[in-house]
């Protein structure tokens, strides 16, 4: 089959690779009908996330049609049209049973990396480093889905792929981020990053009863999108002296009730703090640029909630004193997609959520490297590139 492979830093190529096979009894094979870029892919494409190997197939946000199932698959059938959360879960362990799906104990075949890096290994992901399992990714014609009964979700009839594809990752991640905020009716929620995840978090905050939603970004087309598709107010951080001051003034001197970081380790910013991060990252002295998260910590009102969706490795100059002294609640996780999928599909069917506006650019799988180029450089207002084979 054809698949998009990572061959080194900033070296993506579409290559011919072996087809996947049913290996374990709970596996299913999918013909991928659509897959999409994710900002977290950029971290290893740029070389900031370790444990990639040359030749790895990438891609973790996808949907498709079931073409074969293993002997112990009970619910999923050949021919089913399904969407699949990016984290692979077993459905049997203590974490799955407690709806902490991305922490599943049984789907990472290479636990040794995370055992050291994080203390305990998390679940595996498709096409996202060997620390997260080393599974082949979904920017391919076919993909193997382990534990299919817990990981494949039937798409209700009549929904186009574009309406459903982002329920694989961007939508549940954003939705979870809003859920973490414990939104009370009328709350003000500020969201850093108006990419796929951030925009989904903004929309979700409204669905959960927020009174105001504020988007922080610097790209005019993304801010316009936040305004148009999610009804958020906007702050262009490149046009103001201090985001923290602006947010304080916008909220009567109190600060947002909750702040969501949908940016992560490659944040852009302005001023000496950003220059410092950029320099250290360029010299490989540390891996993270934490401008967005630092701002979110300082901007959040006392006793508020900080919801972190951005992906981080190691960060220094982390203002923990502000979290502690202001009594902030810190909530964070990789997406527990399986927890939210039915709710999200329900929102989509009812017309309350339509993530299809994120799919700004379409490419064939053969053209996927160019798709990533558009996505990374945000060329032509690209928010998400979607691939079809």
């Amino acid at each position: 089959m054809r698949a998009l492979c990572w061959n080194g830093v900033n070296d993506l190529r579409v290559e011919t690779v072996p087809d996947p096979e049913i290996v374990n009894p709970h596996d299913a094979l999918l013909r991928v009908t659509m897959s999409t870029t994710c900002g977290s892919d950029l971290h290893f494409i740029d070389g900031y996330l370790p444990t990639m190997k040359a030749g790895d197939i990438i891609g973790h946000e996808f949907m498709g049609e079931v073409v074969e199932v293993g002997r112990d698959v009970k619910k999923v059938k050949k021919g089913d049209r399904v969407v699949v959360p990016s984290f692979i879960v077993c459905g049997n362990c203590w974490y799955c049973d407690h709806e902490l799906w991305s922490l599943c104990d049984n789907t990472n075949p290479k636990p040794e990396y995370q055992q050291v890096a994080f203390g305990y290994p998390t679940a595996g992901i498709y096409g996202y480093t060997h620390a997260f399992g080393g599974y082949a990714g979904a920017h391919a014609q076919f993909v193997r889905v382990p534990h299919a009964d817990n990981d494949c979700f039937l798409v209700p009839p009549g929904l186009r792929d574009e309406k459903v594809i982002f329920l694989s990752d961007a939508a549940p991640t954003g939705y979870m981020g809003a859920d973490f905020c414990g939104i009370q009716p009328g709350d003000t929620i500020a969201v850093w990053g108006a990419g796929g995840v951030g925009l989904m978090a903004m929309r979700s905050a409204w669905l959960m009863g927020a009174g105001r939603v504020i988007a922080v970004d610097r790209f005019p087309e993304r801010l316009a999108m936040a305004e148009r598709f999610t009804g958020a107010e906007t702050v262009d951080y490149s046009q103001v002296e201090s985001v923290v001051d602006v947010l304080r003034e916008m909220t009567g001197g109190r600060g947002p009730d909750a702040c969501i970081d949908a940016v992560g380790m490659e944040a852009h910013g302005t001023g000496p703090g950003y220059a410092y991060d950029r320099a250290k990252q360029a010299l490989h002295l540390h891996s993270d640029r934490g401008q967005a998260l630092r701002e979110a910590i300082l901007a959040c009102r006392k006793g508020g909630t900080l919801s972190v969706l951005g992906v981080y490795g190691l960060m220094d100059k982390f203002p923990f004193g502000a979290i502690m002294n202001k009594g902030l609640t810190l909530r964070t996780a990789q997406q527990h997609g399986q927890k939210y999928m039915h709710r999200l599909l329900d929102h989509v069917v009812k017309g309350e959520l339509d993530p299809s506006f994120l799919a700004t650019h379409h490419f064939s799988l053969e053209d996927a490297p160019r798709g990533y180029e558009f996505f990374k450089q945000k060329k032509d207002g690209c928010v998400r590139a979607v691939f079809t084979s």
Partner: protein, 246 residues
């Protein structure tokens, strides 16, 4: 009471261990230990000429080992290493969400050990009920030996040792204890290995203690997945643009 029985069983094991460690200075041990180390290195993918991978694997192992040292329940008394050569003992615990009875039975099933060791050794059951191990050495040779269960306290503890006439000697035990709340059962795996002879190899073996520690961790992880889901996560036939799947 279950816990006191377990404790007694362990005390017996420790005294048995003292005896058997007296025999460890045979040349066969060198062979065994170097095979174990080499086999494990292979399974960790260190032969793939990736410096990064090697460093990560070794650093991981070293850190993991340090972590294990901190909470070892039966650390050998000081001086024991000198008396018995540099006996390498590793111990790792993992909580599995199944009752002890189920886990005990699964561990004793003839096919289970082979599934747990699949990337390291071939494990089969002989006609007289012993366990036969075949470990691939780095140079393509195969090292084989038999082990036999010598202590059996269902559903709490199983202790095995290599047979007397076996070319290789080794010892290990697995223990099942109830975990609090709804967590299931705490499973502890203990493995004892001996270092090869010779100063250089001994020094190397000391540094390599991380490798069996890593092995113990991975064996338990596989056991947990098998018990909880009926399968072990794998990268077999995992497509990529490389020749090797993993």
């Amino acid at each position: 009471m279950a816990s006191s029985r377990t404790t007694t069983a362990l005390r017996e094991i420790r005294s048995r261990g003292e005896e058997s460690w007296g025999e460890v200075r045979s040349g066969q041990w060198s062979k065994a230990a170097s095979a174990v180390v080499a086999g494990t290195l292979m399974s960790l993918g260190l032969r793939r000429r990736s410096l990064g991978g090697t460093v990560v694997a070794l650093a991981s192992g070293a850190l993991l080992y340090r972590g294990l040292q901190g909470r070892k329940a039966h650390r050998p008394a000081a001086g024991r290493e000198t008396r018995h050569g540099h006996a390498v003992e590793v111990e790792h615990t993992l909580t599995v969400r199944r009752p002890a009875e189920v886990l005990y039975r699964l561990w004793r099933e003839p096919s289970t050990l082979n599934l747990l060791m699949v990337d390291f050794a071939q494990v089969t059951t002989t006609a007289d009920g012993a366990t036969h191990w075949e470990i691939q050495e780095a140079l393509g040779r195969t090292l084989s030996f038999d082990s036999r269960v010598v202590e059996d306290h269902p559903p709490e503890l199983i202790l095995w040792e290599s047979t007397k006439d076996s070319a290789v000697k080794t010892q290990g035990w697995v223990r099942f204890r109830p975990a609090p709340a709804d967590f299931g059962t705490e499973v502890t795996l203990h493995l004892a290995l001996s270092p090869p002879g010779g100063v250089v190899v001994e020094a190397l073996a000391k540094r390599m203690r991380a490798i069996p520690a890593m092995r113990a961790m991975k064996v338990l992880r596989r056991f947990k997945s098998l018990a909880e889901t009926g399968e072990i996560p794998t990268l077999d036939h995992n497509p990529s643009a490389r020749v090797r799947a993993d």
